[in-house]
């Protein structure tokens, strides 16, 4: 399964277009990390725990998108975009979407 954020793949032709596929996950931070983050809000600097958490969640969103793509029989997802939104205090949604296609 090729996942890319370009509209074409160099050297390969698109045989069939299968429409939009998406994957999303909502994650909350646990209290310990939240406490560390509030300390960092005083000192400044990178919040490593959050960086990892969001990266994991984004990977999971991509994984779900891939599952959806293989369910419709695609072998590639093109033009992938990411989006993040905070839903409530302490929880964020990570969303990935793209176009499922069959490549020759």
């Amino acid at each position: 399964m090729i996942v890319t954020n370009m509209e074409i793949i160099p050297g390969q032709r698109i045989k069939q277009h299968l429409g939009l596929v998406q994957g999303s996950t909502v994650r909350a931070k646990h209290a310990g990390r939240d406490f560390m983050a509030s300390l960092k809000n005083i000192f400044g600097g990178e919040l490593k725990g959050y960086t990892e958490l969001l990266q994991e969640s984004r990977d999971e969103a991509v994984e779900r998108m891939k599952q959806q793509a293989s369910a419709v029989g695609a072998n590639a997802v093109l033009n992938v975009r990411f989006s993040t939104s905070s839903i409530t205090q302490g929880a964020a949604e990570l969303f990935a979407y793209g176009t499922a296609v069959i490549l020759e």
Binding site: T4, I42, Y50, F82
Partner: protein
Amino acid sequence: MYDLIIFITLLALGYFFGRAAEKRHYKSIITREQMLKDIIAVNSRVPPMDQGPLSSALVSGNVVVSVDYFKRFLAGLRALVGGRVVSYESLLDRARREAILRMKQQARELNAIMVFNTKLETASISKNARGAIGSIEVVAYGTALSPVKR
């Protein structure tokens, strides 16, 4: 009275630690930018057609970074009079450059020569007590093109 002492302590902690952290971060950003400058990241959408066969892969880099207490206080004052909020400008600048560097690092591991269709996205992830920006996340993602060996 105690409130005032705590407030001043927090301000001083934020000022000294925050300044040291920012200086250190900029230093490491500049050295790593030098190391990774041969990988070109552009946001053009069409890949070059004259490079021979290339393989593509999605690469991304993200960072969550927080502003210190002193700078947040400055930004609060700035909100009264309006104008450029310099303390947040440098925060966003650092976060974007760091995210791009992490993306390039990932591209380097794939032996990529360039990153196409780079997109940057910024989100404020912590809604603090008074809706301050506090900490932000920046993610950079793009398609890494690496030459195929034959």
